[in-house]
Amino acid sequence: MAQVSIEVRVNGSTYRKEVEPRLLLVHLLRDVLGLTGTHVGCDTSSCGACTVLLGGLAVKSCTLLAVQADGAEITTVEGLATNGDLHAVQEGFWEEHGLQCGFCTPGFLMATVQLLERNPDPGDAEIRHALEGNLCRCTGYQHIVNAVQNAAGKLREAAS
């Protein structure tokens, strides 16, 4: 199959790759770039395990083609921490036991980053609504809600 040349910037590094036009973005990240922190949980963009930030927006990378991301700036879970210091959202999930098996967690983290950028002080119902593109089978969501609140508090404190 004909290859298409693309350039993406992922977690601050630039990559130029020849890819099949049908290659999904999530497979570019995982199989070509080796960033396996982004997971695939379903075929139908239902579960959100593959959520990444593309141009600052949380998107499901299983529902985008890699060629659609040509020229884009992407952040994956591997790019959240800086110099080994965890992002406030990662800290929040850790402190509040917002994860169990961890498979859905990268997607929740990325969706939460977007949520807190848009709404630094969300109520519980707003959190549940904002994360409704992500499924978790382990936690029953309550500790995830607590984790987002915890992270929101940390980020507000850092901003003030």
Partner: protein
């Protein structure tokens, strides 16, 4: 033992890697020379395979090999490991790839290996299978009728087994003495476990050494090693199973599936490393489902509301093949819990296990116990209504009193400990039950339908004493192993045969062992999920890892201290009985003479000066076989509001008081309870695996099968009581499944209570708006 860590909400030690993308799940593995597999699956529920043409697929770009069922004729069938006695169990042949007949949608027919996954999927489309479509049956009640399509030639009438071993007390007398009998038929519908990580494996075979390595999604790697060794004919010591990070199981990663055997076969045939990860569609079609009972209930009771006897007849849908643990789930795990928290003198159960043209059924979070609890909790509410008792009163009237423990129940097990009134007391206090009843009455006057459902449950877990599980036909012991290995620097590796996949045992076991050895939990690392590193073990399921595996680790650590104490006494020139060991230090009582645990560890390995006859080194092993199961319990309350116009059910409050004995880490226990409750609530309100008449799975994707979203779950209000188990030295019970066992019934009772003004006393699950609306219309 000083308890510095036990009982504290330590942050999980496994989380950093999970939060940073630093973990490796099976699908993350990229091994040199790896090829990718795609399985060609039957689109029909029942068909004869006339021919399979793989020529086009073989010559497609990137294809390395294609195999069909005929190629795998030398490979043994997929086995069943719970051979319930006296039941005429038919396990039937289960080839890894179908040869002449397919028996459910998703049954594997051929496998394609290609250089990448896209090519493998492309080529799989080119495999031409000529099917002669046959009649199918998906419903277990229809499947046992005369003239129903037959799933297996050697299982006449589609009967997989007939189980009637659980008969306790004098049932005939109970029904004779009763003032009245409640009879009804109800369904506990099929669920799909839906771990967010799909199943998968990476198979490697070294032809020179004869070693087969499978990296795979498994809750129990040693069981997989044993059974796959038998299936593939590779000696057990040449098979290595490694479980990378596992993204949830909920029972669905216990079974031995055809797919892993197929991948091992492919690796052995081609010499290539073979990777296969199922799509979500495959997960829904081919990974085991759970529940799926139809039950006729008869309850004998007095006018005072005392339940005298319970008779159950259940048709359990087993699917097209008998999965690994499947026969034990709708029989023992279900039947032994059929008197629940109640002192019922007589209980009888008959179960017909039925073959259908559907995905095989096996353990699914709770496995049999949610089904039992759902029936009992519906029974007590319905009897309460008939005799004019409040749901609280009938429970108190029938509870097994706390003074009666240990207590032998009619189905045939001995409950270890319990205080059911205490849990219910606390629950009612949290709910403010009386205030709710007033609020409910006021709401009804305004045309708003609030309902409260109670569920008081007990579960059998901590599986389990090997001699007892052996007598149930389980083909193994259910002890657990652990090795505590202290390194020369005093750092500690703990190996466990349990295989955590989200439950947090890398933290809780470190808490237990850290306390025994007096070392920091960050100096304790848990190793699990590698059959070459860890001694034979039985894995994680049945809420057993902590109550069995945790105790094995505890006992192994105690043995380490015993040896360390001998070394310390020798080095300090003191008698052992003059030493005290506290906070990681051996001290000669009443002196300033002492040495740290770390110093002792170093001396154990230097071996320059050890007591005569004592071997060097500092490690110990334990195989712990519990003397009994453990029986966690609790009281849950769900408050719902039903919109009579739309049939929509909303949870207003969910309150739960659970008792899992002593608690190692309250944060983790709360997380387990939350997840369990969500699982059970989801069954009651949303999830329903449905087949059409022809055996097509209608809920074959996450767009059609309603795994709940964050906004569909309430916040949970939790508390606990602590009734230690006398079975093990730490007083532990289990908590992984408890929430799912208690919660489905709480929602069911709440919906029935909300609809009582319409004269409705029972609605079948799941309580979708359509179903509830129809019930109101028909009332």
């Amino acid at each position: 033992m000083a308890t510095k860590f036990f009982g504290t909400p330590v942050k999980r030690r496994e989380d950093r890697r999970l939060l940073t993308g630093g973990s490796q799940y099976t699908d993350d593995l990229q091994l040199t020379g790896m090829v990718h597999a795609a399985i060609v699956r039957s689109p029909h529920a029942h068909a004869r395979i006339r021919s399979v043409d793989v020529e086009a697929a073989r010559s497609a770009p990137g294809v390395v090999a294609v195999f069909t069922g005929k190629d795998m004729e030398g490979v043994a069938g997929i086995p069943t490991a719970w051979l319930i006695p006296d039941s005429d169990l038919k396990t039937t042949d289960h080839p890894a790839l179908a040869r002449d007949r397919v028996r459910y949608v998703g049954d594997g027919v051929a496998v394609v290996l290609a250089e990448d996954r896209y090519q493998a999927e492309d080529a799989a489309q080119l495999v031409q299978v000529d099917y002669e479509i046959l009649d199918a049956v998906a419903d277990q009640v229809k499947a046992v009728e005369e003239g129903a399509p037959q799933v297996h030639d050697d299982a006449p009438g589609n009967r997989c087994f007939l189980f009637n071993t659980i008969q306790g007390g004098d049932l005939d007398q109970a029904f004779e003495d009763a003032d009245d009998v409640l009879s009804f038929r109800t369904t506990n519908h099929r669920m799909i476990p839906s771990a967010i990580e799909p199943r998968g494996c990476v198979a490697q075979y070294n032809a020179a050494s004869g070693e087969l390595t499978l990296r795979m999604t498994s809750q129990n790697p040693h069981i997989h090693r044993l059974l796959l060794s038998i299936v593939l004919g590779v000696p057990e010591h040449k098979v290595r199973i490694v479980t990378p990070e596992i993204g949830g199981g909920f029972g669905s990663k216990i079974a031995v599936y055809a797919d892993e055997a197929v991948m091992a076969f492919c690796a052995m045939q081609t010499g290539r490393t073979v990777k296969w990860v199922e799509t979500r569609r495959e997960n829904f079609q081919c990974t085991t489902h759970g529940r799926d009972h139809v039950t006729d209930v008869e309850a004998a009771y007095t006018n005072e509301g005392k339940i005298l006897g319970l008779r159950f007849k259940t048709w359990a849908n087993m699917g097209a093949y008998v999965s690994t643990a499947a026969p034990g789930v709708p029989t023992w795990l279900y039947g032994l819990m059929l008197s629940g928290v109640y002192d019922v003198p007589a209980v009888g159960l008959e179960v017909v296990g039925v073959f259908t043209h559907t995905t095989p059924v096996d353990a699914c979070r709770g496995a049999g116990r949610p089904e039992a609890t759902y029936l009992l909790e519906r029974i007590v509410d319905l009897v309460a209504q008939r005799v004019g008792l409040d749901p609280v009163e009938i429970r108190r009237l029938n509870f097994i009193g706390k003074e009666k423990f240990p207590h032998a129940v009619a189905p045939g097990v001995i409950y270890d400990s319990g205080d059911y009134d205490a849990a219910l007391d606390r629950l009612l206090e949290m709910v403010d039950y009386e205030a709710f009843r007033s609020e409910q009455a006021e709401a009804r006057e305004q045309g708003r339908y609030l309902g409260i459902g109670l569920s008081t449950y007990v579960e059998i877990c901590g599986l389990g004493p090997s001699s007892i599980v052996g007598s149930t036909g389980f083909q193994g012991g259910l002890w657990e192993s652990s090795v505590v290995r202290v390194h020369p620097t005093g750092k500690v590796t703990v190996m466990t045969g349990a295989n955590p996949h989200g439950q947090g045992e890398e933290t809780t076991f470190a808490q237990v062992v850290g306390d025994v050895l007096g070392v920091d939990i960050d100096d304790v690392e848990l190793v699990h999920g590698d059959t070459d590193l860890v001694p034979m073990g039985m894995g994680t399921y049945g809420s057993r890892a902590t109550a069995v595996g945790g105790i094995a680790a505890f006992k192994a650590a105690q043995k380490v201290v015993e040896k360390a104490s001998k070394i310390a006494a020798h080095q300090l020139e003191a008698r052992e009985e003059d030493l005290e060991f506290e906070d990681g230090r051996f001290q000669v009582k009443g002196t300033d003479q002492g040495m740290s645990f770390q110093d002792v560890a170093l001396q154990a390995y230097l071996a320059w000066n050890l007591p005569q006859g004592l071997e060097p080194g500092l490690e110990a092993q334990s195989f712990y076989d519990p003397s009994n199961f453990v029986f966690p319990f609790g009281a849950h309350a769900c408050i719902v509001e039903v919109d009579a116009e739309t049939g929509q059910t909303d949870i207003v409050r969910y309150v739960a008081v659970d008792d899992c004995g002593e608690v190692i880490n309250p944060l983790i226990v709360d997380g387990q309870i939350h997840g369990g409750i969500a699982f059970g609530v989801a069954q009651a309100l949303y999830e329903h695996a449905q087949y059409d008449e022809s055996g097509q799975l209608l809920t074959g994707s996450m767009m059609d099968y309603a795994v709940p979203k964050p906004g569909q779950m309430p916040s949970f209000e939790l508390d606990r009581t602590v009734t230690p188990s006398p079975v093990n030295p730490l007083g532990l019970k289990g908590i992984g499944e408890a929430g799912s066992i208690g919660s489905t019934a709480a929602v069911a009772n709440a919906v029935a209570d909300a609809l009582s003004p319409f004269g409705i006393d029972h609605v079948e699950m799941p309580f979708t708006p359509q179903r509830v609306w129809q019930a109101i219309q028909q009332a």
